[in-house]
Each structure stands twice: as structure tokens, then as C-alpha cells.
Symmetry: C2
Subunit: 421 residues, 2 copies
């Protein structure tokens, strides 16, 4: 018997590509011992497995269950944790600009931070803007519980083989906004993902300012999603955090997101961080995190991890950057040798790569056909169309698995492409 609420039905009906496919993959993962033949090689899900031995040891040594972590606490961020985050983010994202611990909220992952933004600032049916291609799970984050939509701003036809293609200017944003209004949408804000996902594109200060002014002009929110902020590994790659530009933050509709899942590779702890000036968001989430707080023992542990500057500066970050660089470089070389164009980005866990030369034509149907051949060969990569890209043939390929897994995945990829060439 059907006994689901109208909004429960929205939750049930939403079947985003990355969740559905990701779940299939996670239930049948490659393991060299237990599932070597038929298990999926995961070039899709964005996990960094390159520093397992370092990060696991550190977190394990930081977990302390005692009367100080046993009981009820401040779900949205214990003061010691917010103080530690404030120092950490100030030094590493904000270029030394001071941050205020009272403007920090801790959530059960960055997805939850976005879900709470959708709840607090939008009603069901309202929408947020994003430029494409983008990490489309944001559609789930705003839609699954809150019924909020994402309106895609597609760039005009352009050469996506260069990273410059993923810049934006005022005109592009204004055109997208107007389009959304013309289609009857109630626009509540815009997501700005930096470093870019899937492109790895790093936005410069001008672009951040353009996005901020655009949002202020229309009195909408701007959400700077910087979850890959500290996974920028190119020698000449320069990341600019919105936190480093105070004039972007001195209003109630700018919010910066960061988290532990990517830059520390620990998605299993579920910890996202929001920096915001919005008293309403701070107050609302101080209540709502009761339904999804980061456990007290985890908050204390992470506070210890990010406060150990010696470990961060001399062990973790140098090792992580070196390994990211090596893995990226290896994957890029192998893909290039297959005649595949890769973006030159030096950030994030993936290469956005153009496989269209192995497709009969650049259509979504052909892209999905290739996707399904890869899937049949037990290789999972995210097709650009799932990221709302319209230059069909691009795939997001994660390079941060263990070495032998990367090697095996590349062999499977070569096998599929060889049959097509």
C-alpha cells in the first residue's frame, strides 16, 4: 500500500546517475584477492587512496573516546574544533586572513551542508544555477530532501580541448540567469565549484569577484564549493580561495564549503565545513545538525589532525602532493599515448579526458554506448553527459586508486578502445 508523503515520493523518484551506478560499483568492487576477475575497477568515485597508511595511522591515533566525547555536545561544531578549523583554513585557504570560528558550521559531509542550504534558503521548486559540466550530485544534494532544482548554464559552442573553455564572464552568468527567469524559475543562488569538478579548472580572483557581484546584483546566494582546495598539486597551479578575499564574504549570501572527504581522503568520517556570514544559516543549522551531527569523538580527532602542523607540513601534504602528481602524470601519459586529449589541470582526483575519437559521432547515445562497453569490461568512469556536459565523448577518470588498480583499469580501457579503433 502506498503510504508515502508527496515529498517522500520526490526522494524515492530521484535516481541520479552517479548514485545509482556508484552503488552498483561499490557492491562489486575489484579486490585482488576476493574479487579479481569480475570486480569493478573504480575510475569513477572520487576517492584518494594514495596516502592510506599515513592518514589511517594519524586518525586512529587521534581518536579518544572519553567522558568528553561520550555525551551530548554541539552537533554543528564544538568550540575546540571550530577554533582549530578557523586556524587551519585561515592559514591554508585564506592566505593568512583571519577567520571567525563563530561563522563555522560542521556538517555530516559537504552534501549535507548543501542540503541545509537548500532547506534554509529555498523552497521546493526553487532553483540554483551552475555552469556545466559540473559535479552533478549537487542536484541530489539540493533535490533529494528539499525538492530544489538546479538550472544548468551551458557555455556556447567552444573548443573544450583547452581549459580556458571553462572560464566564465559576467555575460555568461547574466545570460544564464535571464534564461532561467524566462523559463519561470525562481533563482535562489549559484554554485561556483573551485577547483572545478570534473575539469580541475582553477578560477582566478577576477572570476570569483564576477560571481560574487553577479549574485549581489540579483540578491541571490553564491556558494563557493572548495572541497578540493588542498588537492592542488601542480608546481605552477595557483588556487584562490574565496576565503582569501574578504570583500566576497561580508554579506549574508556568500557561503564557502570545504570538507575532509577529499583533501584528507577520509569520506568515511562524513565531515563538511561551512564558512558563512548568515546568522540564519548558523542558527538554523545549530538546530538541524541534531539530525546529522559529526560525532563528538570525530570532531575532537579531526581537531587534533589539523592542529598538528608538523605532521601536515612535513608528512601528510608533501607526500600527498607528490603522490597525486605522480599518479596524475602516469595516467595522463598513458591516456595521451592512446591519442586521448587530457585537460592540463593539476588539481583534484581526476582527468577530464576526451575519448570522442573512439566514438562514431559526438552524441549522448554514442557516449553512453561507450560507457556501457566500459562498464561491461568492469571499468567504471563517469561520462560527461552525467555531469551535464554537452561536448559528448568526455569522461571523468579518477587517477587516485592504488597503483596496481590504476594499471589494471588502464588495461581494461585499452582493451575496450582497441576494439573500437
Amino acid at each position: 500500500m502506498n503510504c508515502v508523503s508527496a515529498r517522500g515520493r520526490v526522494t524515492l523518484d530521484m535516481m541520479p546517475f552517479m548514485s545509482v551506478e556508484g552503488t552498483v560499483v561499490l557492491l562489486d568492487m575489484y579486490d585482488e584477492h576476493s574479487n579479481p576477475e569480475t570486480g569493478f575497477i573504480n575510475f569513477g568515485i572520487a576517492e584518494n587512496c594514495l596516502c592510506e597508511e599515513i592518514i589511517c595511522k594519524k586518525v586512529q591515533g587521534s581518536l579518544a573516546f572519553n567522558p568528553g566525547t561520550q555525551y551530548y555536545y554541539a552537533y554543528g561544531g564544538k568550540l575546540n574544533f571550530r577554533n582549530a578549523l578557523s586556524d587551519f583554513l585561515s592559514e591554508r585557504l585564506a592566505k593568512g586572513k583571519p577567520l571567525d570560528p563563530e561563522k563555522i558550521v560542521v556538517t555530516s559531509g559537504v552534501g549535507a551542508a548543501i542540503d541545509l542550504i537548500a532547506h534554509m534558503f529555498a523552497d521546493s521548486g526553487d532553483c540554483f544555477l551552475t555552469l556545466t559540466p559540473f559535479y552533478s550530485a549537487i542536484e541530489m544534494d539540493v533535490g533529494l530532501r528539499s525538492g530544489v532544482k538546479v538550472y544548468h548554464i551551458h557555455r556556447p559552442d567552444h573548443d573544450t580541448n583547452t581549459l580556458k573553455a571553462f572560464s566564465f564572464d559576467e555575460e555568461l552568468l547574466e545570460r544564464g540567469y535571464q534564461e532561467a527567469l524566462d523559463k519561470g524559475h525562481n533563482v535562489k543562488g549559484i554554485f561556483v565549484i573551485n577547483p572545478g569538478n570534473p575539469t580541475g579548472k582553477l578560477l582566478n580572483r577576477d572570476e570569483l569577484v564576477i560571481a560574487s557581484k553577479f549574485a549581489q546584483r540579483h540578491d541571490i546566494h553564491v556558494i563557493f564549493d572548495e572541497i578540493y582546495a588542498l588537492s592542488v598539486f601542480g608546481d605552477d597551479a595557483e588556487f584562490t580561495s574565496a576565503l582569501s578575499i574578504p570583500e566576497l564574504l561580508n554579506n549574508d549570501k556568500s557561503h564557502v564549503l570545504w570538507g575532509f572527504s577529499k583533501d584528507f581522503g577520509i569520506s568515511g568520517v562524513r565531515c563538511g565545513v561551512v564558512y558563512t556570514n548568515s546568522a540564519e544559516y548558523l542558527e538554523g543549522t545549530s538546530k538541524l545538525t541534531y539530525f546529522g551531527g559529526v560525532p563528538s569523538v570525530i570532531q575532537d580527532a579531526l581537531a587534533r589532525v589539523i592542529s598538528d602542523k608538523d605532521w601536515l607540513d612535513n608528512v601528510y601534504f608533501p607526500t600527498n602532493y607528490r603522490r597525486l602528481k605522480e599518479s596524475h602524470s602516469y595516467m595522463e601519459k598513458r591516456l595521451t599515448s592512446l591519442g586521448i586529449t587530457c585537460h592540463a589541470a593539476k588539481s583534484g582526483f581526476f582527468i577530464y579526458a576526451n575519448l570522442s575519437k573512439y566514438m562514431k559521432e559526438q552524441t549522448e547515445a554514442e557516449e553512453m554506448k561507450l560507457y556501457n562497453e566500459l562498464k561491461a569490461a568492469k571499468l567504471y568512469m563517469i561520462p560527461g553527459s552525467a555531469l551535464r556536459g554537452r561536448d559528448y565523448g568526455w569522461f571523468r577518470i579518477t587517477f587516485t586508486s592504488q597503483k596496481n588498480t590504476v594499471e589494471l583499469g588502464l588495461q581494461r580501457l585499452e582493451g575496450v578502445l582497441k576494439k573500437r579503433s
Copy 2:
């Protein structure tokens, strides 16, 4: 500038007594070293501090951060944890009746489980029934995010000095249901809290069946909240779990709640458990727990804790029961010596006690006056009116603090009451 959504406004405007007052108390807690004079003695918040040294050691020894807990996982319950829960609940709540791990969901506390019930089964403005007095934070659980109401079924005038007063029958439920309909409510279900909070009342099998049949007759949900199931410590006290009565569970609208906050005294880990036959709830929460999952490392740790039968049977539960019994008995004796009637319940962390002989008249205003005098004396106890009781003068008094805290709280109580006698 106001930029909050309509539902965000509901979140901001909801200021439930126990949250508001509890927050004040938590920020200024008694500590024999750091805050001995002006800190609050907490006879309000329901935490069990009697087994700190045992439970902290056990959980600490069970935390293992490794590649198996580092990454994305099944937020709503890893299979190993659901298997362990299934065995544990079968043995300790269901009287050996087998349970199905596929019907278990793990949530970020029982509050989150209720929030998700409100989302999946009710729309904004719908309501759930409860008998009063009751743990009124459920109003926040269904209302804060989902905008769902609670309709109170008050018992007719009766002698609340006996526990029998908190029984119920079919007629009472039907009358309440009809009243709610008459007032235009869209009734979606009923909460049945067993053991009772604040009364400690244990429901018998007949009452559980009455509630279940009532719900089925009207095609509404019945939620058995059994969060104190394993904190029943009287020698002759018999607790009956809905899980032990299979015919209560073989429909899609019966849900049983349990959690770790009370029976293991570890509210800081945020772990609730739902047992349900509802495919919609199971599917919906498998998605929605992405916004509030119990971290992987916590799930594994708790699985270890509840699988160590030797520790459970020979260390933890015997010690916890003995200490609960001793603390309860001590508090009861002291209250009785003040001429205060206490319910004879032998479950939960509190005594529901009748202080009305110290009030000029049995009104809500007088009850709150007494409450505020206690608060001024830095003693926090929950007044019955905050629990929607209408027999004014009753207070919920937690007895599970450390011994010296209990003693000091009783002295403060005696001080306030002496001035009134």
C-alpha cells in the same frame, strides 16, 4: 536582510523548551573544579553517567580507523553492523524471535530516525498523535525540518499518583483520534513510547496490540519508541518490546526505534536504529542518510561492542543495572523524605515526581514559578508542563549523574523547597 525560505523560517521559529533551556544549562554546567558554585546541576538532560569508565574503555578499544572505514560506505547501515544489530536486538528485545538485517536502518540518533519518518510519511502540516505527558522533543523531531505537528491526547482527569494512570485503552485512542480529526488535522500516525518518558511506565502486550490495531484500523503509522528498552532495572519490572510480537510488525506502517544514546549512555556517537517493514522507508533512508550517516568507523566500533556477549552479560549490563537501581533507590528515598510522591517505575533515567505540595496551587504558572526558582538555584529539572502534562507540579528528575552531583542537586532542591514549606 531576510533571505530565509518559508520552511527555513519554521526551523528558526521553533524554540522548544527542552532545547532552549538545555542549551543554557549545557553552556554552564557544574564542574567540581572549574565551575563549582554557579554551574548547573543537571537533573534534566537524560544522560546516564553511571558507567563512564566501563563504556569509554570498551568503545575506545573498538575504534579502528583503517582502509575499511576510511571511505564511502553504506551510510544507513553497513552489513556487518546490521547483522550485529539484528542478533543483538533479537536476543535482548525480541525474546529470541529472529529479526531481518534487511529491515534495519541506522540513523544519526533516534531524533533523526523520527525526522526521516516525518519526511517520508507526512507532509508539512500533517500530524502524529501522542499520549501525554511525553518526551516532547518529538515535536521538534517531526517539526523542525518537516513542519509536521504533534496532537496531544490528554487523559481525562485521574489520579496521576499511581502509574496505572498512564495506561491506555482503545477508547482513549479513538477519542483522541476523533478529536484530532474534528480539529481538522490530517493524522498520519501515533507514537507509543515504551518504557514511558517521563513516567517510566512499562506497557504490556495488550496495550501494544491495542495501539497496533488502532493504527491499522485507521491506516496510520505506529511508531514504537523503545530507546530505554535495556534500561529497565527493577527485579519485577517486565519490559515487552514490539519486536517480540511478530504480528505487530507484519505490515508497512509499524516501526520500532532503539538507539545507543540511552542504553549504552553514549549520546555523543549519534546512533539510532529503526526496524521496519516499509520498503519506502528503507529505500528513502538509504538515500537520505547521505546527509547524516553514522560514520563508518563508529558503525564498526558499535558492531564490536554489541557482539561481545561476554562483556555485555558479565560486565556492562549487570553493572549498569546495579548502578541504576542504587541511584534510583537513593534518589527516591531522598525525595520521599521530602514528602514528594514518586512513581514506582523501575526504568529509564528519571523519576517523575509530584512536587505540588510545595506549590500554592496546581497551575502551570505556579509550576513555572517553582521551575524558575530551581533554575535560579542552578538546578535544572524538567517541569511536567514542558512534557505536555496537565497535572501541574510534576517534574522529571534525572538520577543518573555521578553520586556527588546527585547529592549536591538534592541539597539545592531541599534548599528551594524549604523556603516554600
